[in-house]
Amino acid sequence: MANWIPLWVHKLGSPPLFYRFAGAARPWLLALAVLAAAGGLYGGLVLAPSDYQQGDAYRIIFIHVPSAWMSLFIYGVMAVASFVALVWRVKLAEVVAMESAPVGAAFTFITLVTGSLWGKPMWGTWWTWDARLTSELVLLFLYLGVIGLYHAFEDRRQGARAAAFLALIGIVNVPIVHFSVNWWNTLHQGSTVRILGPSKMAPSMLWPLLTMMAATKLYYLASLCSRVRADLLALEGGKDWVRKIAEAEGSR
């Protein structure tokens, strides 16, 4: 690879080093995620006032919207890692891409279920085939397709490459999900939180939402660390460093 990339990036790409790094980072990430979630949920469920139109039903937003953001964010991470894996054949990138898929699928599932539970009292229906809901369902199927394709091959690295290709093609769905509320007439409301310009939301409701967003991001990183560790052990089963870990844990 190009030599403008600092040496520690190459070093971190080595499985035994990343295994140790992820093991050290995981408890901190998880603790921060739990702390942020506790703060965000206290702010969202207790401190924030009820909505003048939706009453207390709107409080589903504090898990629905962060999960929806994560479903798109994780897909982006998976696609970038897939690209790196396909172009430069970096083993760690393959692992990151393939182990992101189950977390992304989990968040997409949460988004669909919580959205359904929110839709019933507000729209009068659990489900409707409109643009936002349908494209989010397609996103879930893309995640499941990547997971399924990965496990369909005897050789895991071959499976990872095939699934990485599918992940890259599926990226076209991400802007469709995001802009579906603008492009089509939909039951789903538009964006209230904007990166550019002022958000259309009261600060007392906005800060718990953003704190929950931080919590879900931190949780994803913690889950990714623990998943990548397990996958590296499986992939490098014949190597010396994995053998040492297996023996050390066996004698405990």
């Binding site: 998880l30 009453g55 207390d56 039903a57 898990i63 629905h64 539970l117 397990a230």
Partner: protein, 61 residues
Amino acid sequence: MNAFLAMGGYAAYVWPAYAVFFAVLLADAIAPRLRRGRILRELRARLARQTARQQRGAAPP
């Protein structure tokens, strides 16, 4: 407290949503731990078989 749990009459929608959120993420957190244990157990079994085979080869009965 009761008013908090009632969620303004929307308890039947709000609390299941939160339950799903935590249940799914808990399952997601536990799965890799179980998998890691299984991988290491299988690896130890393979190593034990390997050393047993080597010992048999070194000292035939």
